[in-house]
């Protein structure tokens, strides 16, 4: 059964090649069917492979071909089948399939339809290589591949220069991360002589060859790689810009799958990270800072996709916080539930944008509830799920992160709770402004409002169901133990990643759960009073600022800015992160760094002055230096 795994990446690859080379005369529906059919087959196969892992972890290496053999080092193309990779397989192909189906409806009018489906297939192929590869080298191939696909899909509407810029930015920032990954890989290889997980973690723990600062540095380099891919401070800036791509891309790549590659990599390397307290602390702090930054910026965004984008940044931050605290399985849990509801939210927003004729500004929406009933219900489910209100999926995963934080580090606990409160607030703000109240767009837009076709709503419904029930795969430990509901996911991942065993009484855990729920509900209520009770006024009202001000403790330097943000909603998009952090600090830094080569360049330039005698001098000087080594 495990042998089937080698088929899984083949399906999307064949789909991609078929559409690119033979897809010219086919109708859009046929293309769509081929594209999503390929992913569906991969999904079915994934389920079959997954079942082999259900009863006791049983990691298997499936060798496809010997690829490169050099002295001391060889790479085969081979795949690893273990709980971590199979669970990733499941949601990549599952969610990927739904998004493919959805794209058939969403992109139907686009002239680049074939290209779009083909790229999506190629993306899934590389993503599968990334999670299935049995070594860091294979992971790197997938890692680069998804980067390239992401680049092509962000710039999909390449005629618009802004999209190209966004694509370029994503690509370049990701290269910085990749550099970290390469250095990390080099260090691991240098100290252990292998890049295969099998040798490193499973059969013999070659990873123990790393210790001291080598270990810390290797882990930190790996984490820099993860920072790039998973949009952590300070490499997060590409993700919001990446929303320039079509919405299904945002859902698939920039919410559900590719951005979680960083989490996968850290979870896969859990043996390295858990051995390095320094790196774990770095991961934890970078994660929580990103979570807070993302959540606070999301408060003020008025572009429906940007809110979701910053929310993604923030949620990824939470996952890294969990990783940093050693709760690897819980981070993976959150990845999965997040994939469900974030894909749902993105697809829902796509449906809204579709209905609004391309409008993305939530200030011009409102009251869509009656026009888009299915979208509304599913979006609401997604909102509740992400806000952490029981018993939906987001509650379980997020609550467990907070519970771990409670055990491990009180600062993290407080900060994670704040993030959680902010999440509920901005998500309900988004929901109320979009679906409730009265319509604020033009008449023409109102006239054209319509529910999306079935091909788009069915994926929404499926994802909504997953968002409701997905959380039960990881029922809280203590309470679950009392109620005889096992924490299935922890058992499943037990032998694959390092485990954080929570030693918590039923009472504490229940209190934490209730606390989290109450926080979420309060935030929701604040959003309700602000944006529903006071109606349209909320958009520009100053008075309410003070109450929000109170809610967000004044610890954050971002508060002052928040004042301004509320006062000038028109400028809201040009905000802190975009105005200060990005151009002043990050871009400036990049600019300063780029001065180094031009500084060195001017020295070399002086020598390369075109005069023959100068070149002769350089040669003779070189010769003299070479010969002088003999004296």
């Amino acid at each position: 059964m495990e042998k089937l795994v080698s088929l899984i990446p083949v399906f999307p690859l064949v789909g991609f090649l078929y559409i690119i080379f033979l897809g010219k005369g086919l109708s859009k529906n046929t293309i769509g069917a081929i594209g999503s059919g390929a992913i569906f087959l991969a999904f079915i196969t994934s389920i079959l492979v997954f079942t082999t892992q259900l009863h006791g972890a049983n990691p298997t290496i499936v060798k496809v071909i010997d690829w490169i053999t050099t002295p001391k080092f060889d790479i085969d193309i081979s795949f690893i089948v273990d709980p971590l990779s199979t669970i990733y397989l499941l949601f990549i192909t599952g969610v990927g399939f739904l998004i493919h189906v959805y794209s058939i409806g969403y992109m139907h009018e686009d002239e680049g339809f074939n290209r779009f489906i083909a790229y999506l297939n190629l993306f899934v192929f590389f993503m599968l290589i990334l999670v299935l590869g049995d070594s860091y080298a294979m992971m790197f191939v997938g890692w680069e591949g998804v980067g390239v696909c992401s680049f092509m899909l962000i710039g999909f509407w390449y005629k618009d220069m802004a999209n190209n810029d966004a694509a370029k930015k994503a690509f370049i920032i990701n290269r910085i991360g990749d550099l970290g990954l390469i250095l990390g890989m080099c260090m691991i290889f240098f100290h252990t002589g292998t890049l295969r997980y099998d040798d490193l973690f499973i059969s013999e723990s070659a990873a123990s060859g790393l210790h001291g600062w080598d270990l810390h540095l290797a882990a930190i380099f790996l984490f820099i790689g993860a920072m790039g891919k998973s949009a952590q401070i300070p490499l997060h800036t590409w993700l919001p810009d990446a929303m320039a791509g079509p919405t299904p891309v945002s859902a698939l790549i920039h919410a559900a799958t590719m951005v979680t590659a960083g989490i996968y990599m850290v979870a896969r390397s859990s043996a390295i990270f858990s051995a390095s307290d320094v790196a774990s602390d770095v991961v934890m702090w970078a994660g929580i800072l990103t979570a807070i930054l993302g959540a606070t910026i999301a408060l003020t965004q008025n572009d429906i996709k940007k809110v979701l984008a910053y929310s993604t940044v923030s949620q990824l931050g939470l996952m890294f916080t969990a990783l940093g605290m050693g709760a690897y399985s819980i981070a993976v849990f959150h990845v999965i539930t997040h994939a469900f509801f974030k894909a749902l939210l993105f697809l829902g927003s796509g449906s809204v944008i579709h209905a609004m004729g391309g409008e993305q500004d939530i200030r011009r929406m409102g009251g869509l509830k009656s026009h888009l009933p299915i979208t509304h219900i599913t979006f609401l489910i997604g909102t509740i799920a992400i806000s952490g209100i029981p018993p939906l999926a987001g509650f379980f995963s997020k609550d467990q992160i907070i519970a771990v934080a409670f055990e491990e580090n009180m600062i993290m606990f407080v900060l994670a709770s704040v993030v959680s409160a902010l999440t509920a607030f901005y998500m309900f703000r988004l929901y109320f402004l979009t679906f409730r109240g009265s319509f604020r767009g033009t008449h023409e837009q109102e006239h054209h409002l319509h529910e999306s076709p079935k091909v788009m709503t069915i994926p929404l419904i499926v994802l909504a169901v997953l968002s409701i029930f997905g959380g039960f795969m990881g029922f809280p430990h203590a309470v679950g133990h009392a109620m005889h509901v096992p924490h299935w996911l922890d058992h499943f991942l037990e032998n694959t990643v390092e485990m954080e065993v929570l030693d918590m009484s039923v009472g504490t855990e229940s209190i934490l759960m209730i606390l989290a729920t109450v926080i979420a509900l309060i935030s929701m209520y604040i959003a309700y009073t602000k944006y529903m009770k006071n109606g349209e006024l909320a958009l520009e009202d100053d008075e309410i600022t003070s109450s929000t001000h109170q809610t967000l403790a004044s610890k954050y330097y971002i508060d002052e800015l928040y004042e301004k943000i509320i006062r000038r909603p028109v400028d809201a998009i040009a905000q802190f992160a975009r105005n200060v952090v990005e151009p002043k600090i990050i871009d400036e830094l990049v600019k300063q760094v780029s001065l180094i080569p031009s500084g060195l360049g001017s020295v070399a330039k002086a020598a390369q002055n075109g005069k023959l005698v100068m070149y002769v001098l350089a040669m003779i000087a070189g010769l003299i230096i070479l010969l002088s080594t003999l004296i």
């Binding site: 050099t70 191939v141 591949g145 190209n164 550099l179 080099c186 330039k605 070479l626 003999l630």
Partner: protein, 453 residues
Amino acid sequence: MKELVITSLLGIGVLAFDILKLRKFILPLIVVGLLAVVGASIVDWGMNENLFGKNMIIMDNYALGFTSILCLLTLAWILTSTDYFTNEISRTDLYALVLFALCGGYVMCSYTNLVMLFIGIEILSIPMYVLAASNKRDMLSNEAGFKYFFLGALASSILLFGIALVYGATGSFQLDAIKNVLATAGSGTIMTAGILMIFTGFAFKVGIAPFHMWTPDVYQGAPTVITGLMSTMVKGAAFAAFFRLYYLGFTPTLEFTASIFAVLAGLSLIVANVMATIQVNAKRLLAYSSISHAGFMLAAVMTADSMNPRMLMYYVLVYGIASLTSFNVLYHVSKFQNGAEGFDAFKGLVKRNPVMAGAMTLSLLSMAGIPPLAGFMAKYFVISHILERGYTWLVIIMVLTSAVAVYYYLRIIVSMLTPIENAGRIVSTDSNRIGLLVLSIAMVAMFFLAAFV
């Protein structure tokens, strides 16, 4: 041996056809002839032919492999740039020069005697000096030709001094005899000085800093088509000779010279990449990029005692294909825009000639070493051997400079994607289109074929 005879007769044949006014048969003649050379190398494979038993050249598999690679690269070069030669009558002479140079290339990858090495280098170089200056009315081409010639002659005399000292220390020009002396008696000061001077001559030919300074000037000034040949066939032959020298002859000295190689490779990488980032001329940029690749290949020579020569062949072929493609596209792009060679010349190329834009993108990404393109594997082979040697710092420089390289390659790619108004199509010949397609496929396919290296 057949290879040498066929190619030199081919050169003479071209001249004869030119005189007999049979110009339209020249191209088919060359294609058939070069294919025959590849065929001959396949027939000779494994025979280790040693002409007259005098150990001047030995056609071992190393030599035959490089012979075929040089031959195929030249063939691809000729087929993708036929329009350059058919535009003006007098340019058919250049075919003969290229073929003579190719003969020199064969000698350089099959020599077992330093005399043959020297003669091979000169047979290759002298026609190249002329080719670099071949655009007679263009001042830049004149300047390039003169600089190339003059510095080349200077480098040759340094190389010769080196050979003379090595002869003095060992009493032989034969590589195996030299190796024996080195292995038994070790290398004294005179011997080492000779080796270093030979190295200087080679470093000049392949463009290693600080002996690289002619490279950007000559690459920029020479006609673009010729530059394409210089960065593929000539560079490949030079590295073949360089590697062979350390593979067959100077192997015992690597212990001492490896650290020098490493320093110069690192210096080349840094200088080339730093200079490349400040270029505004795409041709000059590609010249600097070729210097940085020379740094990589020098690192391969550094491990000549442990590395399988097939890996160097792979690198030469992969870099040759990528650089041939990029110079060819540059030639066509600038030809249609009055010789413009800035980044702006590439604007809108996606629309103006998608095949060229695609091939250019692949070749640049391959040179940058981004998977799944062959350039990645080529660099990977080198890096893995360097790591084994313990030159971690060199690997770090390689990785960092590769990251810098992505930046300037992307500038060209971005420029190609930028739309412009009212730009006409860039027309190309059928053979060019097919050639570029084949080269593009090769760039991807060779990534996966790396398993067989």
